[in-house]
């Protein structure tokens, strides 16, 4: 669905069902340089099971117009504007990677608006490898190749996509190359690298929070994810083995199972 946020036309997948304002809202926030499509194996399930879903394309990403936002703080405010723009007062947030930084900051800034927080492959800070950052800012496709290498666990490198016929590394790579690398991945990586408030924001979070971490995640290792989770009161941690940073695709079913149980318990739909 297309709608306007701060004057820009924004696209969000509604998970294959019409957007229905009578249902509780779950917002999915993608990682650096990626798009709503990374969420296809979670969003459709919730959309078919009593929720209204928005898997966003951040401004300047995927099918959204506008310019990429330059800081995690701006993205956090923008998520709040999205909630207003679609006429809701509250929402549940789900983030992946950079999307975790955005949703942590958003939850800390708008404590009354956000009802549950689910983090996948998250950490309190995501300092970038300087060479990777430079490649992305120069628009070098090598940045995407490196990201796909590091983002997939050893198992994911062989393939084994849950959707028959799809090949992980090339699909992810093509998503990250769908717009100008410099203006998406480059800007996003810089925003991640600059963001320093993650641990402080985490301490302010008082809502039910879930962290899904993966044993073979090189980008946000389990140790870092746990460090963040420890700062969030009562937060729940689930660790997926034999899986890398792209857990939402690499182990889509296992991720969905954990997410489903968490959201339906803590933010139930009456529909």
């Amino acid at each position: 669905m297309k709608f306007k946020v701060n004057g820009d036309e924004i696209f969000a997948s509604t998970g294959g069902r019409p957007f229905d304002k009578n249902k509780p809202l779950i917002i999915f926030v993608h990682g650096s340089g990626l798009t709503h499509m990374t969420w296809v194996l979670q969003t459709r399930y919730f959309a078919f099971h009593g929720y209204s879903v928005l898997a966003l394309d951040l401004p300047g990403h995927g099918l959204s117009k506008g310019k990429s936002l330059k800081t995690i703080e701006d993205m956090a405010d923008w998520i709040s504007s999205v909630i207003d723009a679609v006429g809701y007062k509250e929402a549940s947030l789900v983030g992946h990677s950079q999307g975790c930084l955005v949703t942590i900051e958003c939850t800390a800034r708008y404590p009354d608006k956000i009802k549950t927080l689910s983090l996948m492959g998250g950490a309190g800070a995501i300092p970038m490898n300087p060479e990777l950052l430079a490649l992305a800012e120069n628009g070098d496709p090598k940045a995407v190749d490196l990201m796909m290498d590091w983002a997939h666990g050893p198992a994911g490198h062989f393939g084994g996509h849950p959707v028959p016929g799809l090949y992980h590394i090339n699909t992810g790579g093509m998503l990250a190359k769908s717009r100008t690398i410099k203006d998406t991945l480059g800007v996003d990586f810089r925003a991640c690298d600059n963001y320093k408030n993650g641990f402080e924001a985490a301490k302010k979070i008082k809502i039910p929070t879930l962290s899904i971490l993966a044993t073979d995640d090189k980008m946000c290792p389990v140790k870092e994810g746990k460090k963040l989770a420890d700062l969030i009161e009562g937060s729940k941690v689930d660790i997926i083995d034999n899986c890398g940073h792209m857990m939402l695709l690499e182990e889509a079913d296992r991720v969905l199972k954990v997410l489903k149980s968490f959201i339906t318990t803590n933010y139930p739909s009456k529909n």
Binding site: G16, L41, Y45, A47, G165, M174
Partner: protein
Amino acid sequence: MSDKNKKGPESKTYKFDTLSLHAGYQPHKNAGSRQVPIYQTTSYLFDDVDHAAALFNLERGGHIYSRISNPTVGVLEERVASLEGGTAALATSSGMSAIFLTVMTLCEAGDHLVVSSQLYGGTVNLFRLTLPKFGIKCTFVKPRDTEGFKKAIQKNTKGIFGELVGNPGNELMNMPEISKIAHDAGIPLIIDATYQTPYLCKPFEHGADIVVHSLTKWMAGHGSSMAGILVEGGNFDWMQNDKFPTMTKPYEGYHGLSFAEEFGPTAFTMKARAEGMRDFGPCLSPQNAWNVLQGIETLSVRMKKHCSNAEEMVKYLLDHESVAWVSHPSVPDHPDHALAKKLLPNGRGSMIAFGIKGGKDAGVAFINNVKLASHLANVGDTRTLVIHPASGTHSQMDEATLKFAGLSHDMIRLSVGIEDIDDIKNDFEIGFRAARKPRLVSNQ
């Protein structure tokens, strides 16, 4: 710092030869079985009613029924997608069904395609005679006529289709140029890369958007199993114009799903499977998928030998007194020699066409007398194959169509195998000797 240290981090995703052995398969999810298991089953248990609904609604990945997908076939699909540098693939019961599903996923009645005139005979018939029955019309353009492809594009044109190296005339399409023409018109370029395999050429690197293969040929190599596949590059923007409503508009068959919005770089394959495979049903059997996988394991080893044997044969034929002409992109005066070098750096393929002195009668005598080379209607076997197209693969064509397809009565098509090169040459000597006195020697 040395230059080596300055290079910075390199992606360590697996390379071609490793992918051809491993891609698409995770032993730890298959009882530790090192070899890919053959899932000889039609259907798959649902955990509960909710799981069943989730699979049908494309909420979750997984298998329902082997017409739509099968785990063994899925390994093959991922493997070929990985080797081509594609996002996704859909395997089919034959190369023809891969081409048919591609067209049916792309086009509706009233649509039009621009098609290279030098194609496998079966494909020519599909485009010329069968697709018009579905309301899909084609304009044929000679493969070297790059401008001709542009001129043939109409308002209702939905794609350009061709074989990179035409069959059997060995004329090349200028893929990079023709892909620009297609993209300027907002339509995809579809390449049948059966003769190249991704070892010789990855069409996505030169602007193609969809690749099809008859896996029956070099990819399998053993000549034991029929199979085909369509592979998606993932770069084509279906939403750039309103030419592809079945990709971009809500689809009634899946709760108003828009394939392009929901699946982006894999939208075409998702639609080909969800609609095409569901409704037409040319699925690949798990046994044949497994057979093809066995071949792909040795793809680069075999292709090297195919190409080196082919280059030896080209030299041999060029020097032979019974040969009027030789067509292979490795021949320096082949009109596409330079283009072939650019697009096929790892070898120019193992298909040779040559003219035999003495015309049709000599051709028939040659074919009837060789002993090692097999006379049959296939290409890309590990064994050397020969055929006389005018009386075989293309015999259903009338004189004019034959000429337009770049064929002549003296032409012999040779698919060079990986036998010892001396044995192939010795066998050809027997054929040529017979061809020189066609009425005296016969195998009757």
